[in-house]
């Protein structure tokens, strides 16, 4: 088969290799029909997530058709059409029983690595470094899905791939980010980052009763999408001081909750962002948390800071004093996918939601390297790329 393979910083290639095989009794093999590039894949390509190995297959947003079923899998059969969540969960541990799916105790075969860095291991993830299992990803023609009687969601024929593909990550992730804000009717929610997760979070915040959503970015077409498609007010941080602006338009009180949909590689133009960038280049820092600092600073007293953006290491100069003095609540983490996939599918089926609005580009898998470059540099208005692994059109 062909798959998109990581070889190093800014070096991804499409290669030919043997097809995946069933390795465990609960596995299935999927023929991938549609897959996408996630903003968090760029962290891998930019080389800021440790424990990648040359030859790793990327991709954690994918769906397809079951072509082979392990002997202990009672749930799926050949021909089923499924969306696969990016977190892998066993379904049998303490955490899975509490629906804390992304904190599964058993699905990471490299748990010892994660324990060294984080104290305890979280769930395995597809195509996202060996710290979280080193599982081969789904930017491929075929993919092996472990514990596949727990995560994958069967999809009815009445909806298209593009309507449901984002149930694999960004839609539940944006939704959980908004749910974590504990939105009360009429609340004001500020969202940093208008990439795909930010867009889903804006949409979800309105669904959950927010009165106003304020979206912060510096990319023109992303701000436009937030405003025109999703009804948010916008702040362009390259022209305006975010804190002053937020304070002014909320009548001096600040947003009730703040969502950091950016994570460890924020690009802010502020002084601290440049210092972070220099430190990261010199391996003096692991993460660049300038958005998180801003969110903590701007959040109203007693508000919630919700973090769907990915962080991995040790953060410098986080204004914990402000967080403490204002009595903030922090909610964060990888998404507990299976809490949200079924209810969100139902909303899509009822026509209340169509997350395919974020798609700006479609590529065959053969041109995946080019797609990464375009997406990474935000060229040509690129917000979200989907790829068809079996599409032979070049």
């Amino acid at each position: 088969m062909r798959a998109l393979v990581w070889h190093g910083k800014n070096d991804v290639r499409v290669e030919q290799m043997p097809d995946p095989k069933i390795l465990n009794p609960r596995d299935v093999i999927l023929r991938v029909t549609t897959t996408a590039i996630c903003g968090s894949d760029l962290h891998l390509v930019n080389g800021v997530i440790p424990s990648m190995q040359a030859g790793d297959i990327l991709g954690h947003e994918f769906m397809g058709e079951v072509v082979e079923v392990g002997k202990e899998n009672q749930k799926l059969k050949v021909g089923d059409r499924v969306v696969v969540p990016f977190t892998i969960a066993c379904g049998g541990c303490f955490f899975c029983e509490k629906a804390l799916w992304s904190l599964c105790d058993n699905s990471n075969p490299n748990a010892w690595m994660a324990e060294k860095l984080w104290g305890y291991s979280t769930s395995g993830l597809f195509g996202y470094s060996h710290l979280t299992g080193g599982y081969a990803g789904g930017q491929a023609e075929y993919v092996r899905v472990p514990y596949s009687d727990v995560g994958p969601l069967k999809i009815p024929a009445s909806v298209t791939d593009e309507q449901v593909l984002f149930l694999s990550d960004i839609l539940p992730t944006g939704y959980q980010a908004a749910e974590n804000c504990d939105i009360q009717p009429g609340d004001t929610v500020a969202v940093w980052g208008c990439g795909p997760v930010g867009q889903m979070a804006i949409r979800s915040a309105f669904l959950l009763g927010a009165g106003r959503v304020i979206a912060i970015d510096n990319v023109c077409e992303r701000l436009e999408m937030a405003r025109d498609r999703n009804g948010a007010e916008t702040i362009d941080f390259s022209h305006q001081d975010v804190f002053d602006r937020l304070k002014t338009i909320t009548g001096g009180r600040g947003p009730d909750s703040c969502i950091d949909a950016v994570g460890l590689e924020s690009h802010g133009g502020s002084f601290d962002a440049y210092v972070d960038k220099a430190k990261m280049a010199l391996y003096l820092a692991t993460d660049r948390p300038s958005v998180l600092r801003q969110a903590i600073h701007a959040c109203r007293k007693g508000g919630v800071v919700s973090v769907p953006g990915v962080y991995g290491g040790f953060l410098d100069k986080v204004p914990f004093g402000a967080a403490f003095q204002k009595g903030l609540t922090f909610k964060m983490g990888q998404t507990h996918m299976m809490r949200y996939m079924q209810p969100l599918l139902e909303r899509i089926e009822r026509g209340e939601l169509d997350p395919s609005f974020v798609i700006t580009h479609r590529f065959p898998l053969a041109r995946a390297a080019e797609a990464y470059d375009l997406f990474g540099r935000k060229q040509d208005g690129c917000i979200k790329v989907v790829m068809k692994p079996h599409d032979l059109v070049h």
């Binding site: 290669e15 390795l23 009794p25 190995q53």
Partner: protein, 253 residues
């Protein structure tokens, strides 16, 4: 893992009641006769006597403890593992099953190779004795015989090696059911003899530099199989072209 742990050693009893009395009487006699002589030899004898007296009074013998031996009436193997000598491993994991289930699975020693990849086989030789064989890097195998020292259903299993094994060790597994929950904490304590020679070399490659790590990996696998029916793996999965570095790291692993 806690190396150099002195766990309870100074306060535990590993000598039988009779031996304690004999030890104390002999010690007292040696002190008296040694002090009478008022010479270097006499002082040494008195000092040895003092050690024997202490041993008798405290009921603790460091020499016994270091090989995980206990002849005490209390006969708690958790104490037998508490010597100052040797390398200690102390690892625990929580398994989402009641203690009775987990205990029964563990007690079936002959099935343990299904959970612990480095174990080749475990064969019962009589009611409380088992022959163990392990295999590791280089396909070299080592073997030892062990007997069950103590067994409390749903709570404790303890063993030690017997005869002249490649590995001198003793260990216990304690099962503690969480209050008000259906899960069980499994605590493994293992001590092995760093006596030098063959056994040290064998144990060194069996456990690597961090003996706790292998035990921890085994426990994790044991837990995964019990909770999910399989151990998570990526061995044999699809991948692109690996670098030479990757294979170099693999061969060292």
């Amino acid at each position: 893992m806690k190396k150099n742990e002195v766990a309870m050693s100074a306060h535990t009893v590993n000598i039988s009641e009779t031996e304690r009395w004999l030890s104390s009487i002999a010690g007292a006699a040696m002190i008296l006769s040694g002090l009478k002589q008022r010479s270097v030899g006499g002082a040494l004898r008195a000092a040895s006597g003092a050690a024997l007296l202490t041993r008798g009074a405290s009921g603790y013998c460091p020499a016994y403890a270091s090989v995980g031996r206990s002849y005490s009436r209390i006969y708690d193997t958790r104490e037998a593992l508490g010597g100052r000598c040797g390398v200690h491993v102390d690892e625990s994991i929580t398994i989402n099953r009641p203690a009775a289930d987990v205990w029964a699975i563990w007690r079936d020693f002959e099935s343990l190779p299904n959970y612990i990849p480095s174990l080749k086989s475990v064969t019962r030789t009589d009611a409380t004795r088992f022959h163990w064989e392990a295999i590791g890097p280089g396909r070299r195998s080592i073997a030892w015989d062990a007997e069950i020292l103590n067994e409390i259903p749903n709570e404790l299993i303890a063993w030690r090696t017997i005869g002249e094994p490649d590995v001198v060790s003793a260990g216990s597994v304690r099962f503690v059911q969480s209050k008000g929950r259906g899960d069980t904490q499994v605590h493994v304590r293992l001590q092995y003899e760093p006596a030098g020679g063959k056994s040290t070399a064998a144990i060194a490659w069996l456990f690597g530099k961090e003996p706790g790590q292998l035990i921890r990996a085994g426990l994790r696998r044991f837990k995964a199989i019990i909770e999910t029916g399989e151990a998570p793996t990526t061995a044999g999965q699809a991948h692109g072209k690996r670098s030479l570095l990757h294979y170099a790291q693999r061969s060292h692993a």
